[in-house]
Symmetry: C2
Subunit: 1002 residues, 2 copies
């Protein structure tokens, strides 16, 4: 056992391991030489945070029979390799791995690594927990996972990453460029995958490197220098791979041995450099020296790169140097070159003909939904955690934060991972949820118990004590506050309780939004004789809806599959009632047994009772299976249909209509594996369509990709609008790309785009908007029509590495059946120009549904002894209609991270696309704000510092064409009012004055 | 560029890299625990000195598409891994690699590594340049290559390897055990490959570990504790491979991550240990933790072994420790166990049914011959180097030593390497020869020029100056002394010179043997009118023999293939004459043109002119091609015949007989690809049969393995005798093994043995002896018959890794034809008990033929102005008939290494199997011996020190059955007489008194 000295002589180490050879000492000190072609060698590894193996398997290097990969080796071997020569450099990207490694390192190694980071030898770039996908994640998740990584880096190393490094995601979003790029403070953004037609044109025009304006609203104020690689993120062609056992020719420069080859290898290097220079502006080119999970023994790469730098520079035709994307970016900047402007985004992505990576927009729809649910829950849970007071060591929201962060990886929420890895992400989310649920329960318990003037969050309170002292705190139900995470499968033991013996069910309805809100809520109940009272004791209108077979089947199968329980008798009814809750607050409802004979359920069978101007239909595409000659199959990544088939009942099945005071439902069994419920809510003007899809049959040997088509008679001129990561809307034109003359070879797949918030189309009079409950793929293949892909079950792998067919099943008692998914679409028709308000506000409601907590009242009088309604903000205040609070989070140091987001783009709504403002004092009514610091989006540096460092790039063409972008002004420390211009997000770090008798005051 | 500090703090390093983990510090300090099952983990790598890649390719890690292997990585990564934890241990074996690495290391690394060797963390075992084969090498080569490695280790590290580690060779020889084991001073010998039937029995009887008496003559005085592994030299079954990307389950002990598996892995470990304990005596078992070219990133192995040691010892059921074969040997020794005795050897080796590794005894017969020729040449060249005085920096014999050493590797001379690797060995031998030839030429030039009383070797002499100052010394012909290395293909420009204009050809005939010797020599000449005079001016008898088409074809094709030259007109004749030369000396002969009409060549055609009591015939075995069901084909390793076919002319071809005063030759074209010449020499009583075999046809889809059968009518009762590495003879009985009840499944291949010197059979009256000119496989498949496999050409790989069919070709001008080999067998019949003398002395003559050097005399009178005869030893002295000088070599420090070998076994010859003695003073007549130190066989320690340390093992059964072994006594420093008992080899380090005016005095 070794003891660890705190003081370490790094110099000695460097000297010892730097002396590679007695006779061959390589000069690797070269920096940029102005007159020459500079080849920037950027040593890197690309470490997927889960793909073929789970994140932990990749980290420790287990399960190598699937893929030889061990991130621990990479980081372990990197340290001595960098110490051996101070000219060597490396970038590391994925913080999920880096943090796993970091927490295992001795203090001695940590000191050394801090010095390496400080000196720039080791540069942490991108810096999120993972290299998130850019199609399937919600922008709030992207911000959160980036913040998690960036703040760790800031705290441990005192540095802020300068570079966006999205080298592998399968297409690139506008939100990535402007929000997770420019607004984070990155100086440049690098990526590897753009459409093969686009790439060819850009090579030809030397326009792989651009200045990207990702946001119409923020324009050049949020632009970023962006680099698309000539091919991929690997070394250039010509044999420059140097992993252990790689077969590229090493530089054999020992004249005592056979096969001396220095001149041949220098020639290879120069040839590859000149070839790349030919498609690149300026005399700087970058070589990405590494690829997936390489540098397991870092020495093998550096040894060869040392030699290349030494001998190539001796040769003198080109200049080779160790570099990083930062050094490269600075070199590009200092070249004073003009760069083309790029707008919008890089979707969809095809890597060759018939290979559109648009299938993954929908792949694993259940996982995508789970991620989205957890995303909303995490937002709410952090609010409640703040109200109660954060507990760093006890249950908190960190585990969910971590699970959600990892789930944004470009092989996670994308659905392009192996099944066992998808299971791992789900397991992590589930564990994270469990801990967050404990936070939520304890916070609600605390808020219910304490008068607002006393508040929660005093760590010496008995609540806190209970948490700390309980070993298995996951299982604690604080004050019997119970959650029902499986409400989605109609499973809620708390609400299914027997209310016949005078017991009542307490429902605490929490609203995470910044506005007061009313919504119909639905809970399963076991009996029909129930009444609902509000917290003021008034009975309110409620409605019972029958639980149909489709839902009962889902409930029983999945409760058995996931909980291992066979539920008691299924509840017979859904009980629906309208609840309302204040901003960031809750209201309490009481469900009691009643002696009444129950509400009358009115329903009748009819064939056509709901008349609509909008037709909803379902089809499936048959997934191409691939042939020897043309092997590209439809799969987890790629959507390649070879036929389309309308889904219609073989026999005419009657439609069931349920009507009531709150909800009308139309139930249709479209076929044996597709069930649809159309819902209209009293007081809501949109249609909610719930679909239950699956198990998709495949016994006919045909993979199927199921779409919903929402059809109108509108003349939409090939044009539709899709959101970018749930934020900006981008105009799409069928069979068209703004950047090049599209050769159409996949008329369906090539028109698919990722949808996170929704889509809309319009004609001269109206617009049809559709909102979604998760990431899906969508398009408008025919004018007047919006189509959304709901589910996919395929029989073939599509040859992009995952090596599994996308054929999800759910197993219970050793029997596996195809995955059934349940989901909702929401649509509405508005007059032209008036749809944004619905899309934005209902979009927020879908993302942040009411959070329900249950308790039982047995003899006690809850209404008189407990807090029955609460708002986290000033009761007189709510956020402006065009602003959402996307983060409210207490940090470990007691400060609060607050993000406010303007929800509208410039010109999107005639009333709401305007500068607006939020009064901070009203948001924290019982606290005294002592300091507000505006931060970069990832909260790792002051905004003012970030702006000071921003590089101003020269762009081709007049930049005067852009109309002036306004942004909210500085925050007056006395007024504490935050201005927000359209699409602006402002990230604030808030400190409160500490009152004498409380540590944390909510 | 890093500068190198001389003083390095190893402690700091160890602490820095030893602290694997903040939370997991492993206790790896465990040593042997007496009461428990001790699992000795022996970390090792097995690095073939050439096999699928060349030695240099393996070292630098090039050509990885053939095999991922880089020895540089292993040694580079080993140093920090050992520094990280002082309990970690490693053994390194192959000095060819270690030396390549060592000479590239900085002084700082060298200091660290010396400390690691000193502390025992890094143990250098086996210690030869390679892990030599035990079937195909000559014992002198085995000694030389071991000495080369051992003396390097001694010089650099001051240590002597304790362990024989022959883990991969394909069967194990008696000479390895007693000579290269016990006589080298090893305490034990480890190996992996023994017959599968033998292994099964030994497991059952716990007799894998034995005390091996390899020599009948030296008995227990040369015994060695020997360990055959239970399976191979890899980790035990159960998943204990930890190379980068290996798929054994790692020990996942981080409770923060998923898949924690400590208990499962501990259970795996304990189960594997108990299983091995079940077949092993004592409570010590060894796990060979590594295999071919592993530890490229040593950290990956040690990290897991650290954990196993830590957790297994916490578990406590067995005791796990870092160990080495030395520690294991000591533990076995201290156990006081009794061990079975093993006699003879472990040949042949089959790893399963129908898989006898007896093909490689003959594979690549041309390479085997080249190695043997170079072996003899190296012995002679060192003698001449000594006479001239060694030049460390100029041309010397080191390169040949190195090439020969590497060629002894068990995938080199064995013929089991890929073709490009075989070419590499040949290239190295050729380069080594070229440099040695320069030494030989300069030495002969020097000896010819200087009167013996003056001597060569003064480094200030003009000869030396010429060597040092000439940049391209390879090409220098000192005093026009020219060699003819291609005499074997009848190509010798020097002797083919035009002698018509009064020029004469000088032939200096050097005899490397310690006895005066007479032999017929043959050189090609261009014309028939030549006479031969001896150095006293007397014309001596000579004979011209025609050069037949078979030889002319070989000459022209191979001169073009290897030299790129088309020879001038072929010589028409071989000129033969009888030469004699003194011990370690030369005589000069002069070939002149003559006006005579030339010698009459008498020859006639006949069908049957030579009557013999011995019949020589040729057959081929058809090599089995393998089927899907029974895939084991005959190949480079494995001999698996599926038929035997007599080779006879399709039409009766006339026999050509050439008669003369010195030689009678009978030429027979047996078929289109097999030519035979039977030779009888005047004054010699044996028959020499030369065969020219090839290109073996394979167009019929049948691989062929060609054998010569020498048939008598003797009743030999299944019994025959084969040599062990050219030294001891071992009795073999067909279809029988002394150690177990043989299940015969390959009645031919399973009776094959390696032959290096020869074979004999006998009946009650006579013995038939056959000697060979290279390593071959041989057997006696029928009573009265000896068969020797001469050549093999096969169409299939035999699935032992080389992945090439053994199908050798020789290419010239882009045309490749199957390899033709040329070789000789020598046989003779003696009365029973009298054959040894011929076998031993002619064996020496075959190994050490006359070395011929040529010059031209043009007008000068060579005989009067030059030294025309010379003996390196006292002219009145020659070695006893039963002693050979197998090493005479001047070392870099000026000392001389002398090895004297008794040539007879106990009881082998009634006169010569006796104690004999050598007078050292007579061997160095012009020098004064100041000190003689007797050394271990590999000359790395004093013999007396070695004997003092020798472990005395307890053996099963009475050891009193052995008759007393005598050995030569101590050498009296005044008398300087060396006694040698049968089979004894004595290794002496001799120092000479320095005379005032000469640095080196010969």
């Amino acid at each position: 056992m070794a003891t660890i000295p705190v003081v370490v002589s790094v110099v000695i180490l460097a000297c010892l391991f730097g002396s590679e050879s007695k006779y061959m000492v390589y000069n690797t000190s070269q920096t940029i030489v102005p007159g020459k072609l500079n080849v920037h060698l950027v040593p890197h590894t690309h470490d997927d945070v889960g793909w073929l193996k789970t994140v932990d398997q990749y980290y420790v290097g287990s399960n190598n029979s699937i893929q030889g990969a061990c991130v621990q080796n990479i980081l372990d071997s990197l340290v001595p390799a960098l110490l051996a020569d101070k000219n060597r450099k490396f970038i590391y990207v994925e913080q999920a791995f880096f943090q796993r490694w970091w927490r295992d390192q001795s203090e001695a190694i940590q000191i050394v690594v801090k010095q390496l980071v400080k000196s720039g030898q080791l540069e942490l770039i991108n810096g999120g927990m993972c290299m998130h996908d850019e199609a399937a994640p919600h922008y709030i998740d992207m911000i959160d996972q980036t913040t998690l990584g960036h703040r760790f880096i800031k705290n441990e190393f005192g540095v802020t990453p300068r570079i966006g490094w999205q080298i592998d995601p399968f297409g690139h979003s506008a939100v990535q460029a402007y929000l997770l790029g420019a607004e984070v403070g990155f100086d440049s953004l690098f990526f590897g995958r753009i459409d093969y037609q686009d790439r060819a044109k850009r090579k030809n025009e030397k326009s792989l490197e651009v200045v990207w304006h990702g946001s119409r609203s923020l324009g050049s104020t949020a632009q970023i220098f962006s680099v698309a690689f000539p091919e991929n993120y690997e070394p250039p062609p010509g044999g420059f791979y140097f992993e252990v056992n790689d077969d590229s020719p090493i530089v054999q420069d020992d004249i005592n041995l056979f096969d001396y080859n220095v001149q041949e290898r220098v020639n290879d290097f120069v040839a590859a450099a000149l070839s790349q220079a030919n498609i690149t502006r300026t005399n700087h080119i970058m070589w990405t020296m590494g690829t997936d999970f390489k540098y397991q023994y870092a020495h093998t790469w550096f040894r060869e790169m040392d030699k290349f730098i030494h001998y190539v520079n001796m040769d003198g035709r080109v200049n080779a140097l160790y570099s990083t994307p930062s050094i490269y970016t600075d070199a590009k900047y200092e070249s004073n070159e003009f760069w083309p402007i790029k707008s919008d985004d890089f979707f969809p992505y095809a890597d060759r003909i018939h290979a559109y990576w648009t299938g993954y927009f929908t792949s694993r729809p259940a996982l995508k939904r789970y991620v989205r649910m957890m995303s909303g829950y995490y937002l709410a849970a952090r609010q409640l955690e703040f109200f109660r007071g954060r507990n760093s060591s006890g249950p908190n929201t960190d585990l969910l934060a971590d699970a959600l962060a990892i789930a944004q990886h470009h092989d996670a929420v994308t659905g392009t991972e192996k099944q066992h890895v998808a299971n791992d992400y789900a397991k992590r989310l589930s564990m994270g949820y469990d801990e967050a649920e404990a936070v939520v329960a304890s916070s609600i318990a605390c808020l219910v118990e304490s008068p607002p003037s006393v508040g929660c969050g005093n760590p010496s309170s008995t609540f806190q004590q209970a948490i700390i002292e309980t070993p298995n705190w996951f299982c604690l139900y604080y004050y019997a506050i119970i959650m029902c995470p499986l409400l989605n499968i109609s499973y809620c033991p708390a609400s299914e309780t027997d209310l016949s013996n005078g017991k009542s069910l307490i429902v605490v309805v929490y609203n995470p939004l910044g506005w007061k809100r009313e919504d119909i809520i639905r809970i399963p109940v076991a009996k029909e004789d129930v009444t609902v009272h509000d917290y003021e004791g008034r009975e309110i209108e409620s409605q019972l809806l029958p639980l149909f077979d489709a839902h009962v089947g889902i409930r029983n199968y999945h409760a058995a599959a996931y909980l291992g329980v066979t539920p008691r008798d299924a509840p017979i009814y859904w009980l629906a009632f309208q609840a309302s809750a204040p901003p960031l607050g809750f209201s309490t409802y009481i469900i009691s047994g009643s002696k009444d004979s129950g509400k009358q359920i009115r329903y009748r069978n009819t064939k056509n009772s709901v008349q609509k101007s909008v037709d909803v239909s379902y089809s499936f595409y048959s997934g191409y299976n691939g042939t020897k000659k043309d092997p590209q199959a439809s799969g987890a990544y790629i959507f390649r249909p070879n036929g389309t088939y309308l889904i219609k009942p073989e026999v005419q099945v009657p439609v069931t209509v349920v009507r009531g005071p709150l909800i009308d439902e139309v139930h249709q069994q479209i076929n044996s594996w597709l069930y649809q419920i159309t819902r209209l809510y009293n007081g809501k003007e949109h249609v909610e369509v719930e679909h239950v899809v699956g198990p998709i049959p495949f016994e006919d040997g045909i993979g199927k990709e199921v779409v919903a088509k929402i059809t109108t008679a509108m003349q939409t001129d090939k044009t539709f609008y899709t959101d970018s990561n749930g934020r900006d809307f981008i105009k799409r034109i069928r069979d068209y790309r703004a950047d090049w003359n599209l050769q159409v070879n996949e008329p369906v797949a090539g028109n698919y785009y990722p949808i996170n918030l929704g889509m809309y189309i319009h004609d001269d009079e109206n617009e049809l908007s559709v909102l979604v409950d998760r990431a899906v793929g969508g398009s408008s293949i025919s004018d007047g029509q919006i189509e959304l892909m709901l589910h996919r079950r395929l029989l073939n792998d599509d040859s992009r590495g995952v090596a599994e067919a996308l054929n999800e099943t759910v197993c219970s008692k050793e029997k596996c059946i195809g995955l059934t998914i349940q989901g909702k679409l929401y649509f509405r028709i508005d007059p032209l120009g008036e749809g944004a308000k619905w899309r934005r506000s209902v979009g927020q409601e879908i993302y942040s549904p009411f959070l329900l907590a249950f308790s039982e009242q047995d003899g006690d009088n809850w209404l008189t002894s407990r807090v029955t309604t609460f708002s986290g903000i000033d009761t007189s205040y709510s956020l402006p209609e065009n602003v959402a609070m996307i983060t409210l989070q207490q940090l470990d140091d007691g400060k609060v991270l607050l993000r406010l987001a303007h929800l509208y783009e410039v010109g999107e709504d005639k009333d709401l696309s305007v500068m607006t403002h939020v009064e901070l004092k009203k948001l924290f009514p019982s606290k005294k704000i002592s300091k507000v610091m505006e931060m970069s989006l990832s909260a790792n540096q002051e905004r003012s510092e970030m702006e000071k460092k921003r590089l101003v790039w020269k762009v081709e063409g007049a930049s005067g064409s852009e109309s002036k972008v306004t942004r909210g002004g500085p925050i007056d420390p006395a007024e504490l009012v935050v201005e927000l211009s359209p699409m602006e997000i402002r990230t604030l770090l808030i400190e409160f004055a500490i009152t004498h008798h409380k540590l944390f005051d909510a």
